[in-house]
Every structure is written in C-alpha cells, then in structure tokens.
Amino acid sequence: MFDNVWLIPLFPLIGFLINGLFGKKIKNEAVIGGIGTLMIFLSFLVSCGILMQMIGLPPEQRVFEKVVFPWIHSGHFKADMAFLLDPLSCIMIMVVTGVGTLIHLYSIGYMHGEEGFYRFFAYLNLFCMSMLLLVLGSNMLVMFIGWEGVGLCSYLLIGYYFHKKSAGDAAKKAFVMNRVGDFGFLIGLFTLYWWFGSNHNIWTVNFMEIKAASHLLPYGGVVTVATLCFFVGATGKSAQIPLFTWLPDAMEGPTPVSALIHAATMVTAGVYMIGRMSFVFVKSPETMMVIAVIGAATAIFAATIGTAQNDIKRVLAYSTVSQLGFMFLAMGVGAFSAGIFHLMTHAFFKACLFLGSGSVIHAMHHALHKIHSHDDAQDMRNMGGLRSAMPITFITFLVSTIAIAGIPGFSGFFSKDEILWQAFANPYHGNLNIVLWGTGAVAACFTAFYMFRLVFMTFFGESRINPKAKSYLHESPLVITIPLMVLGALAVVGGYIGMPKILGMLPNYFEHWLEPVFELATEYSHKYVSHAAHPSHALEWGLMGLSVAIALVGITIAFTMYVKNTALPGKFVATFPALHRAVYNKWYVDELYDYLFVNPCKALGQFLWKGFDVVIVDGVVNGVANVVMGFSGIFRYLQSGYIYNYAFSMVLGVVVMLGYFIFK
C-alpha cells in the first residue's frame, strides 16, 4: 500500500540530474530554482500521503518494507535496495522534505545572482536524495549510501565558495572528520554482521531482521564494541565531542546550507541512526552511559563557546552542536522518542533561526555593498537595532529564540523539558542522573543566555551599522520571508503534538506514534534495570518550574548585559581576561587537535613524501627507467634501421639454427 515510497528519493534525484546536467544551459534562475523546489515539494506531497495512510493504520501494522530492486546477492550476503517505512522514518521524511522545501524556496531568494546558481540547487537536490535514502534505507548498506552521500553534499556545499581558501579548508575539514566517523560506522556494521553470522548463522544487514534476531544479542560485550563504533559514526556526522569542530567551520557555506544540512537534517542523522537501532544500543548499558555523558558534555561545552562568539552564524553553529548534545543525552538516557521529538522541534526553530540570520546577513551584505564598505556582514558587533528595519525577520527570529530557550508554550520547551526530566528520572544511570540533569540544565541556561545575547545584539539597542548603510537596510523579499513565517509558526505550535503527560491538556501523540518503534528497546532495558523509578508528579512539576526559571535567568542576564547596561560585557572581559580568551578561542580545541593529530599527520606525511616517496618510490621508478635506458642504449645498435642488417641477422639465425640441429 505504500508502493509509491520509492518516488520520495526519486524526485530530488530527477531535480539533481536536470539542474546538474542542464542547469548551465538553462541560466534562468526562476526555472532552476523552480525545478529544484518543485521536486522536493513533490516528495513532500508523497510523504504527506504516506503519513496520512499510516495514521489510518493500527499501530502494529505500521511497518512496511518496499524492495525497489535486488542489489547485492552474494553467498550469505544479501542487501536489497529497499525502503523501510515505519513511524520513525515517516517523521524523518516529513522533516526532511518539509523543511527542505521551505529552504529550497528560501534559497531562490537568498542565492539570487550568485555564480553557479544551478550548481547550488543541484547539490541541494542531491543532498535531499541522499538524506532520504539515509532515513528510508531498510538495511545498513542503503543507509550507508545515504550517510556517505550527505557527507559528500555537505562537503560540496560547504565548499560552495571554493575560490575562498577558508571555505575550501572548512569543506576538507568536514569531510575528513566525517570520514573518521564513517569508519566507525563501517566497523560497527561489520562487527554486528559478523557476530550474527558467525554465532547464529544469520547473515543480515537488514534492520527488521536484526530487530527480529536482537533477542540473541548479549548484554554488553560485543554489543558494546559494535554500538560504540556506531556511536563514533554518529559523533562524526552529528558533531559531538570529539568530532564536533567541523560544524562551526562549516558555516563558510551559504546560509540555506547551514540551515538545511548543518542544523535541520544531516547533523541529526546520528540521532536517527541511534533511534533506528535502539534495540541494539539499549543492550549495552556502557554505551548508553557513554552516549549520555558525551551528549551532556557536548551540550554544555558548545553552549559555553557560544556565549563569546561574535559571528552570528557561528553562535548558531555552536548552538546546534549544543542542541545535538541534548538529543544524544536523550538517546543515552533511553528517552528515544524525546530525542526524536527534540530533533523535530529543533529542525523547525533552528532552521528558522538560520534562515533569519541569513535574511539579516543578506540585508547587511546588500547595504554594505551599496556603500562599498568592507565591514563583516556577519559580525554582530556591526549590527544592532535591526528590528525596525526588518520586522518579519525580527518576529520570526524572536519566536524561534524563545522556543530554543525553553519558554513554556513554545515547541522547544516541550522537547527540552522532556529530555531534562528523563535525564533526571530515567532508570539507567543511577546516581549519574543528577549530574546529567544538572549539566543539561546549566547548558539550557547558557542556551537562553547566548541566544538572547544574539537577539539583543542584532535587533535591539543602538544601531552600530555604518550610518551611511543604514538607509539601504530593508526587509527581505517574500520568497525569503514566507519560509521564515512558516517555520516560525511551526516553532510555536510544533511542540503541541508531544506535550508531556503531566501537563495533561493534550495526549502525547508523538510518543504514542513512536511507541511501536521503541517498544522493543524499552523491553530489553527492563531486564537490567532492576527498579523502575517512579518519581512523584510534584517532583516533575518542580523540575519543570526550575528549568523555566533557569531559562528566565539566562534571558535576564542577557538582557542586563546587552540592553540595559552595555558596558557590563567589557567589564566582565576585563575582570576575567583568561577565561574570556579561552572561551573566545573555543577552548583551544582546534589548536589541541592540530597539536595532537594534524601536525603529527603532517609530519608523517612530510616524512613519507621526502623520505619514502622521493627516495625509495621515485628511486625505484627512476632506477628501472635508467636501467631500461642503459640497456636500450646498448641494444639500439642491433636495430640499425638498415634492411641489409636485418637480412644479415636472419641469415645468421638460420645458419646458427641449422648448425645447432646438425651438431646437436
């Protein structure tokens, strides 16, 4: 009944082919952008149809596998190009195609007049196709194709302005770091495949078959190894400690890319993957703990860095890293549906924030360009007071900021509060729960602080823009603001489908929807969780209030520092210069990595180049050539080119052969 599922990745592929092959010839931006947007919109419509159908089914029938064509059948090994539809992938395709459509639409306006316009849309379509393959893949190999495909598109799009060295470097960095993660993913895949195959003769990479056989998996042991490897893959793709440094650099790409790839979809692939294989992950308490700790640590670590950045997109980038940390925290404490829920709400408000910042940058760039100023169009220190010039951008941006800060009534509150509550109340990690919750709460406080710092610095206060440029500032065109408004609206209402039970106004549709997917994981977890903790409702209410209060504290601090008393940040910096320097320089993580990995690799490369390649490899190659040249210098005298010499050799040969047969 879901036979048309293969259309979903097909449409963006068609768009990619049209724009990639003929875009240069088409030239007309409206046509190119229209094709790109239309294709992903068609996918969105198909996805909507599938969602509607699926809602109509009873929960236990909501799994559907569609084999498009047999792919690899070799001995035991069998992998089909097949798509898996279940509530989880359904949500993912809705997010990808929905947000994707809006961002495509937005890009038509944002990328207007850019060189290589067609290239941009071709890459975006290719990305959407890969991402849809990733979320729809019914086995790990199809998922891996998507996994690599989105990495490739990320590389291509970060390096979109490839004539800029920083963009090229950032693209390379993203690619290399993702490769590290992908390696982990592959090792995990092999481990799982090998374990099932050699121990139980179940040679499979199919998710549903693994799920059916997952009761055979032991707790811990080999599962810990495999899941940790998978988690390494997730950290690479989703920018978690230790592989997170590529994401802030990835902001070199055009802003719609940051919104689509580096906020809403690709970076959530790691979270999705853990959700998809929750029944494996949950079998290893150690891995769950590692995920939770890494998630919490990333959340607070990135949040602190975000407080001191001045580039508007970089703040959002660190915010993304931090929010992804929250999602992993949710995964790590077994609150899978909460994590996926946060993934969805985050896609709404973070995409909106990125697109809003893009709108601001667009306007700033335009205005500064008019007066031939070389001020940085992305530096918040050059902004301020934009609220009157760009009302729609301001309102949507503010709404999304409130959502991410966790103010009740907005989507971010529901998902984040659910995560924090689960971090506190989950039965997995014992005493560690308090630490996880505390870290998360502090990170939430920082989140509220830096996000409102961003809003205040950009839209409030005195205008720090070059006075001459001021008159050129104006609101972005409709094609940009419509996606903003839609996403802003979703950022407000998107949370109501997953309202916590305790608030009781609406049932938690979202959790019910995902229940069949994570049922098995919950069942497995009961086996090693001795006591299911049931904290009281009062506690939940209290914690909820506390987290709201924390968010408000963050907002108040930001308000005091950046609106009321603008001298305060300077004083603060003067008081703690070392701390500020460390935060401003992102805790020197990049430098540490350079020192630990990059430079030794470079030195090794240098050595292999100068020592091994030049001396030994080139030596062997040139040596062979020299030997050949030497011999041919001697033997060329045999080949005089005169016919009688050849006749001579012939006769000589005949004589010698005859002589041999005679005297033998």
Binding site: R636, Q639, S640, G641, Y642, I643, Y644, A647, F648, V651
Partner: protein
Amino acid sequence: MENLNSYLIVSAVLFSIGTIGVLTRKNAIVIFMCIELMLNAVNLTFVALSRHLGNLDGQVFVFFIMTVAAAEAAVGLALIIAFYNNKESIDVDDVNLMKW
C-alpha cells in the same frame, strides 16, 4: 650420370655465393640477382635428387619455383623502380625510413 654428391656440392657452392652476395652488396638489383642465384642453386638440388630417386615430384616443384621466381621478379623490379622514383637511388643504404 655423375655422382649425386658432385651436383649437391656445386649447388651448395652456388647457394653460399648467392648468400654472400645478398649480404655484401648494396645495389638492390644485384642483391636481387643473387637471390635468383640462390633459387637456382636450390633448383639444381631438386632436379639432382629427383633424378637420383627416380621421382618427378622434385622437377614439378622446380617448375613451380620458376613460376614464383618470375612473379617475384615482376613485383620486385616494380618495387625497385618505385623506390628509385622516390629516392633517385637503388642503394639499400638509402632504404632508411626505419632508421631512428
């Protein structure tokens, strides 16, 4: 009839002289004539052996060799003329297009 070996030795001598000519001369026509000489030496061997064995196959063979020699002469001399038209010479030293 003479002893078979005498004929064979004469034919061997003629063949060797032909070989030496082919190897030492540079004039293409002379080389050509030396090849004819070698062919004739072989013919002599054929006829002598055919007579000795009382079998006419060898002589029929000589007949064919002569035909081939006639064809060879026609084509070979045409080649020499074509070469001469190109190079104004029939010296095999001038056949040096294969020389690097």
